[in-house]
Symmetry: D2
Subunit: 436 residues, 4 copies
Amino acid sequence: MSTGFFGDIQKVKYEGPESTNPLAFRHYNKDEVILGKRMEDHLRFAVAYWHTFAWEGGDPFGGRTFERPWYGEEMSKAKLKADVAFELFSLLDVPFYCFHDADVRPEGKNFAENTKNLNEIVDYFAEKQAATGVNLLWGTANLFSNRRYMSGAATNPDPDIFRFAAATVKTCIDATQKLGGQNYVLWGGREGYETLLNTDLSRELDQLGRFVNLVVEYKYKIGFKGTILIEPKPQEPTKHQYDYDVATVYGFLKKYGLENEVKVNIEQGHAILAGHSFEHELALANALGIFGSIDMNRNDYQSGWDTDQFPNNVPEMALAYYQVLAGGGFKTGGTNFDAKLRRQSIEPDDLLIGHIGGMDACARGLKAAAKMIEDKALAKPLEDRYAGWNSADAQKMLRGEVSLGDIAAEVEKADINPKPRSGRQELLENIVNRYV
Amino acid sequence: MSTGFFGDIQKVKYEGPESTNPLAFRHYNKDEVILGKRMEDHLRFAVAYWHTFAWEGGDPFGGRTFERPWYGEEMSKAKLKADVAFELFSLLDVPFYCFHDADVRPEGKNFAENTKNLNEIVDYFAEKQAATGVNLLWGTANLFSNRRYMSGAATNPDPDIFRFAAATVKTCIDATQKLGGQNYVLWGGREGYETLLNTDLSRELDQLGRFVNLVVEYKYKIGFKGTILIEPKPQEPTKHQYDYDVATVYGFLKKYGLENEVKVNIEQGHAILAGHSFEHELALANALGIFGSIDMNRNDYQSGWDTDQFPNNVPEMALAYYQVLAGGGFKTGGTNFDAKLRRQSIEPDDLLIGHIGGMDACARGLKAAAKMIEDKALAKPLEDRYAGWNSADAQKMLRGEVSLGDIAAEVEKADINPKPRSGRQELLENIVNRYV
Amino acid sequence: MSTGFFGDIQKVKYEGPESTNPLAFRHYNKDEVILGKRMEDHLRFAVAYWHTFAWEGGDPFGGRTFERPWYGEEMSKAKLKADVAFELFSLLDVPFYCFHDADVRPEGKNFAENTKNLNEIVDYFAEKQAATGVNLLWGTANLFSNRRYMSGAATNPDPDIFRFAAATVKTCIDATQKLGGQNYVLWGGREGYETLLNTDLSRELDQLGRFVNLVVEYKYKIGFKGTILIEPKPQEPTKHQYDYDVATVYGFLKKYGLENEVKVNIEQGHAILAGHSFEHELALANALGIFGSIDMNRNDYQSGWDTDQFPNNVPEMALAYYQVLAGGGFKTGGTNFDAKLRRQSIEPDDLLIGHIGGMDACARGLKAAAKMIEDKALAKPLEDRYAGWNSADAQKMLRGEVSLGDIAAEVEKADINPKPRSGRQELLENIVNRYV
Amino acid sequence: MSTGFFGDIQKVKYEGPESTNPLAFRHYNKDEVILGKRMEDHLRFAVAYWHTFAWEGGDPFGGRTFERPWYGEEMSKAKLKADVAFELFSLLDVPFYCFHDADVRPEGKNFAENTKNLNEIVDYFAEKQAATGVNLLWGTANLFSNRRYMSGAATNPDPDIFRFAAATVKTCIDATQKLGGQNYVLWGGREGYETLLNTDLSRELDQLGRFVNLVVEYKYKIGFKGTILIEPKPQEPTKHQYDYDVATVYGFLKKYGLENEVKVNIEQGHAILAGHSFEHELALANALGIFGSIDMNRNDYQSGWDTDQFPNNVPEMALAYYQVLAGGGFKTGGTNFDAKLRRQSIEPDDLLIGHIGGMDACARGLKAAAKMIEDKALAKPLEDRYAGWNSADAQKMLRGEVSLGDIAAEVEKADINPKPRSGRQELLENIVNRYV
């Protein structure tokens, strides 16, 4: 029944921190209970179909390095790819996967053929899901690879391309619903611009606002229960992407009346490209009430493009999961690896090893974060630092019950002349280092 | 009457493009009419008091390099500084200046003394303004240099520091109103964080939202007619500033109900630090309806901090003024030079030369932009590119009168399969190069 | 005879600055004499075969956007490509072109077939050159696109890949010599690393040192008169490229005894990626005596990858040509456009328009630079600034004829206590703005 | 005897990983033996006098935040500062410290007074060293803070400033020798440029080459046994610093015949600013034979300036110490904390806490690195990867005994057509994660 692609490799097991088996988990122990919940239910791991099965190892300076028996545009290849994909999901024992339409079906010559192809694969996936117990975290549409989208999809100057994109999204939401997907993601692949010289920002933002509203309206119409997610990215492929970062997406949602309908899927690599730390984007999404899900793949700090590497820096990941837990943990979201193997990692077992390392690092990060939460290691000093704002007077001021004039009069009268207090950054960093 | 600081230098005059006089304008000819308006009324130049008169040439690796007779914390020094400042304004023949409270008055030992000192200088400025005809473009409060603000002003964990800051802003708005200032600027000096470990983002954003609302309420109360401006900056001095960029400020304004009350003052250097081009920030502010004013000083593209240099790249500046003109030009805003002389430029005439070069480059940029507007050099191709969206069907779609399902059905039925069209970026860049 | 690819477009002519013809030169007037030399002989323009004819418009997020009749791996396609290429060279009236082996010949199944294919095309090119008068500025080998080079060519851990690469370079030098090429370029495509974890820097640097020495030895053996050039680039495709920037290449050349044999081909985009201005790299190469040639294509300042755009910012280009002229101008080198059309610029005439804009901007930059040289606009102030070092005492100190102790004794005895002088940066920037 | 500055805090002790005492070491256990050497002898910690005692908490947007009783320019203050400094060294139990002249002595009005002041403090330090057992890792001269150096020291256009700088360095080497310093550091504070418009690169590089040769000649003359170190930095305060990075310094040393005389002191923050990882700079210095010492302070990855924070990311630090150990460990060098407290960390105990956290993180990094060395965890796969190069044929090729023509003939004859092998990056990253 097996395709044989992974040879005789067996399901990856937890063997504990001392194991040196490269095909075992050392930290991810799915049934271990952390803060009252199984680790699997906290982390909600998903494998990304595109990088893991559809990406061929090319970069701007060279083509395919991987050799996979499923490359090609026939339906039989698509099914072989699916067979191997669900084998990988099972070997890794992950609960979820994610896909774009273009990852999983042969490209058709028009919309109708794309839809037909997609539906055939969706049926095939449905069987696979039933057989393996692996579920869909989210579906999405690839609105950027085909040359028709070279100038954007929703934000294209040609309304017919908007239409083609919208129709495609409809089929992908349908597919996601059919497969029980828990979220639907909009990643603004080429929703942005190369040059302002040929770009009308007002028009394009309005087009995008309408597009996302179409999606939300359709969700309600068909009764899709999942969450609609936007994935911020600042640039690449375009010079400027409209979904630049969490703050930008929030302003967009507010402008188009979507702030209660759409949440964000935050990627470490995109945060870094936007000039932010990953934990900043997570903390901000929590503060703005729009946190949804994460892509747990890192960028290289010295590279100016999206390197999509498996994560491995545990102290940084602990701070990320700290924000996730502090915001209440994942609801419909999860931890997706939108990660590429390095193009030199051409062996089948590299696919497993990359995911195992990432999953183990996530598990360590989660455990450290959970312990910090339990101990109130950071929460207690934080609460103390802002304690002054809990006073009745300060609350009144925050509620808008005193005016600027009132405050000035009070400062003058009482000669308020406050002294600064230490921010204790080094102490807090040392405390974190007790946990990681 | 003259302080003699500038020796025998006379008022800087327009001498035309062939002049090699370093103390003459070659392009800025204030009475020349462009697009039906005098150049002076288009550009609305302002000199920044702080860098030009209060900054001493220090950087993180060395102290004062300038030698100015007005350095010191006595009132007599402050008045000497004002004398020289208005001499410079007159020599340059600029219509406006801008200041922070801390630039112009001696630092007092408490709020009352600061206020008293400020008021004394405001009276002195009022006389100077009357004598010279130079006016105030905007006033602002320095809420970042004093050590009391080391952890922020409005966003400080200590509500007494919020109070002190609020009281200070009140005095600065009063001063701005008294001097006929056309805008009041809020620059979030240390409104941001050094580490998330000691920061509660939700609290701090709410504090900042309240603070800006206090300012707006006060504006109405006292009948101040100017515009309230926020100046975006992504980082420096803090690791992350809350007013990161135009998109972030827009989201903030929407969240706190301020989007119709507050506009933005955009600086080239801050745009660059945020990973954007200057024209992006301008175009976006226009698209979002919050464009207010500009700080026309550039950052070095190879330096990762705010270098605040006088602008000199005319093609880039033409694209900036193109956005300003495309949005209807300045209303209460203007072109402020928030520019530092290089710390090695220690001669008095360097102060004039820096401004002259900047003003001339602005004039060239403005003229090129105006010609592009007149010729519809960019507007015509832009309109053509989006022409498809003007159709009745496309407009209906934009207005939300068709659903995702309708669109998909139409794409399938009509077999819509659009072909891409050239974006013509190189052609448009060549067209711009006809004008600059 | 014509392929018809460019329709009825005729040879591009100089029409002067007032022309609005998008297919005319406005500034590049090849016979105009500047500083005693024809503009064509100053600029020595070359078209890059790879981006202009072999690149298909793909990026990491999407495939081919261009539709060209010559795409494919057959020899007939390669010849059609050559036909169109020489048509373009003739329409643009450029004196030179550049190529990699892989741009021009079908990929063979082994070394022998690659060589055979290359040789067939070289013969075809030789005829074309004779017919058109277009010559070869430089040839080079593509040692990065084929998957065999995924871990480097000269710096590969496998000596057989070193061998394959070396053999390939031999055939490319032979081809370059046969076609009368004036230079041979080594661009370290994947000579670098993705991770230090699997990299032995000492070994790889020694391998690279040997490789370049092999090339130099071979040059002498066959009597190739051209210059060997290394093209610095800091990163991309690899995380770290060994030929990082001019300073790094200089150290490498010194270490392996090559500093008198090899010069540098400097690209604006690569300079920017390395954190330098273009003029820095040019000035440094002059100071170190290794300046050779330039790739005149720019990177976007807001993008962290190699965007390879046609240049258009004249003030920046004037400063670049100022350095070229200050160093004595090109010898065997020239101005190559290693520039990609934007992938949205899919029309045949976009290929011409991109080059025309770039050539015109170069011409403007050159003219401005030449005028600054003639006027000693920058040279005179520079000489004055360092005049103190021309004294006999200072020269003696520079020659090493006084010791640290001597100097200290003199400073103490004479109480040397120098005062700083203005660096005059703004004045010099204003002077440059008189010329651009 | 104590100054009382640190209150009743006692010498910091090792209490083991479970300790929650913020004033204890959890990992740094100086007498613990790692790879046959005491931890103290491996790490060779040093405290930097300047940031810890002379920096006042200012940044470009605000002044002093710290309140220290020793601020001021009198000799009595300088001695009080020394008293507290040696108290801190003793409390932390570090074996070394480092200083610039300007950190430790009052600024005089001329060279003679500076020298006199320095010598007085050197005598005071000598007593302190004898009393505490703390030694000098390195001395250096501050050639950047005084306004006389605003345009550089050795690279100044004025030879008298070169002289003043040279004389100052002489006094600092004398002081370093007298105090038994193990190294002397040259950090090119303002050896660089702000603009090429006023800079003659050739002259300035020659001046710098002579300057460093003067230092080396003087070292031999006085019999100073320490190592001369250059500390690379790419920029800040200047736009471009001549000692940009390790590769640049190596080229400079080769050019001026200094490669056997001078080594490098590498700082994590400077590596990051130059676009490199810290381990890259360390590995390269090893490969080039110029590794000397390290400054173990980090930059924030999202900030574009030198943030000089205490290090805390253990996985990154393990990779750094891995390179240090792989190169044979420190000889005369050590681990200096060129780290600033955050300016909000205003309490005396913050000074201790910052260092304790940094020392503990270094200890963890060292231990992980040592274990990887012992296990040959990375060395074994590395050796295997390059094994092909150990063959006789490959060695012959490396030694230059075969020509390009020979190689090409062999490739053709034997039809060498190598297949790529997996780079195994993810596997190696997972292996590292077993150790950190």
